[in-house]
Symmetry: C2
Subunit: 415 residues, 2 copies
């Protein structure tokens, strides 16, 4: 059976079991509309991989042979979806079951100079450790989402932003970061920039999912991601969503990208701390900033409001351009200093058509920086309509034909 056809059949069988609980093969065949022969092949493979288990034998149902019918169910210890978020200094992993409940999650640190081979190895070790600790197995993964810190797919060398000393400004994951996971788990892998995946997670999380969203994250830098018309946006060269490098002050502070006065120089955590120093308030880190906010320090308040107003002008321009339903501002600093979101929303309101109801909702992110793996997970939840047209970066041919499973890379071309 062709691998894609089998995957589709498998999905339907797993979904039917998720929705209906334990069922006999005959019941499953009727619900998903497969022949008994095809269904037996599918369930045999799923049983072998541990995705499903025999829960009991229903004596009131009889197979064609006259034997009592076995009832099958999802294996509650079988992971279905995996999200992996590679940060600059650690990797987060979260694994969910068929109902999207998190089964296990965890993180492991590495040095920010660690190679991608090292990072991948550490992530795979962590995943094994988490699984064996909790009795969770990965024989039936439906998909793996991987978030990486740089743009993805990486622009070609010539197009890659470098600073004046030739150092890369953004750190791309190498082509093929997906292959190790595809080979290990025999499941489709989606790789994208982790800020983009966070944008997707914010768009589809909760009851009020939206099709048009602008996401910006304030941390060591300022990143962003866009969902437009229900699609994650990559741009022509993988660089879409770089709101942090919109120029806000042509004569402003030098930015690591080689320009001056980028939003990032004003609204990133280092940018905000530097501005506080300029006004005589010496803060070393976010904890110091939180303490200054807690005692309503006027310098902290002024710097935060000015940074937020600048941010508000940039997301205001983005709103005029894209007309999103929602603008989400993420990053730990927004939790410590809620004024950032309040002031950005107020400034944005003055940047758009002066009718209140025409503006987007402006909200703090629901997911924290620690939740990056949930963004990656969001990318693989099968029922996400946002992903129906999003390219998978690796699809395993003949997923259970290991050990000679090979991977193919889908072209990054919109249909």
């Amino acid at each position: 059976m062709h691998a894609l056809v089998r995957r589709t059949h498998e999905d339907r069988v797993l979904r039917a079991l998720q929705e209906n609980g334990a069922m006999s093969r005959g019941e499953i065949a009727r619900v998903v509309g497969l022949s008994r022969t095809t269904l037996s092949e599918i369930t045999g493979n799923l049983l072998q991989r541990g995705a499903i288990v025999v829960v009991d034998t229903d004596a009131s149902l009889r197979e064609g042979s006259g034997r009592p019918a076995e009832r099958l169910a999802l294996d509650p210890s079988s992971a279905q979806f995996m999200g992996v978020d590679f940060g600059h200094r650690r990797v987060h992993v979260a694994v969910a079951d068929a109902s999207h409940k998190i089964l296990v999650s965890g993180a492991v640190r590495y040095d920010d100079t660690a190679s991608w081979q090292t990072r991948t190895g550490l992530a795979l070790e962590l995943i094994e450790r988490l699984g064996s600790g909790a009795g969770v197995h990965y024989g039936a993964l439906q998909g793996v989402g991987i978030g990486v810190p740089g743009p993805y797919p990486a622009p070609d060398g010539a197009a890659w932003p470098r600073d004046s000393r030739g150092a890369t400004v953004l750190h791309p994951a190498p082509e093929g970061v997906d292959v190790a996971f595809a080979e290990r788990f025999g499941a489709p892998v989606i790789v994208d920039n982790n800020t983009r995946l966070a944008a997707l997670a914010e768009a589809i999380t909760g009851a009020d999912s939206v099709s048009d969203l602008v996401y910006v994250r304030l941390s060591d830098g300022v990143g962003g991601g866009l969902v437009v018309g229900g699609q994650l946006v990559t741009g022509s060269g993988g660089l879409a969503g770089e709101l942090g490098h919109v120029t806000v002050a042509p004569a402003g502070r030098p930015c690591r990208c080689g320009k001056r006065g980028c939003l990032e120089t004003v609204a990133s955590v280092p940018g905000i701390l530097a501005a506080c120093w300029e006004f005589g308030l010496r803060l070393e880190n976010l904890d110091d900033l939180a303490a200054a906010v807690a005692r309503s320090h006027p310098v902290a308040d002024r710097v935060l409001r000015e940074a937020a107003a600048t941010l508000g002008r940039v997301i205001g321009s983005a709103t005029m351009i894209l007309n999103p339903a929602k603008v989400v501002i993420g990053g730990e600093i927004t939790r410590l200093a809620p004024v950032l979101v309040e002031q950005a929303a107020a400034t944005l309101a003055a940047e758009i058509f002066p009718t209140a109801s025409a503006g987007p909702a402006v909200e703090a992110a629901r997911l924290s920086d620690e939740d990056g793996a949930l963004g990656a997970l969001a990318a693989v939840f099968h029922n996400s309509p946002l992903l129906a047209r999003y390219p998978e970066t690796a699809e395993v041919k003949g997923r259970s034909d290991a050990p000679d499973a090979t991977t193919e890379r889908a072209a990054h071309v919109r249909p």
Copy 2:
């Protein structure tokens, strides 16, 4: 037969005739893979509507009955695609055959206070007049694209931008502008803002079509349109692409939208003429401006460069946000003053990551303001891959079941 199924069959038959020239029914059936019965129904209907004609009888081919086989071909006088561009003061129409060759085109003026009923009536009269003058009939239209000056679909009343006196800033076409055309021609109708349709036309015209494009048009106002990931972008409320109302100078000139210092106040034709007046150069219109440019008047040059630099900063921000492959600047003024595009491109280059090859191509529009109907046409050319996922606003049920043909409105929801 279900209308959509029939349309699909019809498309395949028409395309086969377009690609292969005259064919017998038997040949068509083989090429498109339809049964002879279904094909006879399709060709009978197409013959009746005049989309195809019997060109000759090929004695070397015999039908099942033993009669010599008729060969069928596209009727060269049969219109296949229609583009209609409603401007503020006139409507342009262009009609193309199956090979996308323009068969007829024309325009008719109306007062800018004319009702939509009047405008629609004048457009339909023009279309009839053009057709009968050139011997072109509309019995086999595959689709009608309609451009309208305001955002479309119109935002709801509360969200609609109004100025301080309560007047609407942008002029929406009423819901249902499509129905008159759908009923008259029994063809699917796509309606959208005409600047957006121009963006689509720029994206798909020529050999180097792109999936990510930012389009801005400088005329009485400044409008824009976006193609992102191969899709025209409407935004959550139909307001995407309003680059003209990005704030560029918070204390600048009042804008008709109720804000101050929008790009439109600086880079529209009236904005540029007003700036020339401020510096003592009294120009009444574009002709005067063209004359000043021709004699290299320093005030005109300075004003144009400053307007273009401001434009460059806005499209630079849009480029950082969307990473388009191409930025297109339209409007008659860009033909009279090429410095606008040159300076905007130079400024944009300084706004993005400082690596030359990462930037988009910045070009003057290929289509002129008079070519709006071509933008609308672009929206209905069947072989546009960009449109595969774009919502049709009206689909006729049972297109040949007139006179009781009714229209249904597809929900403006992304799948």
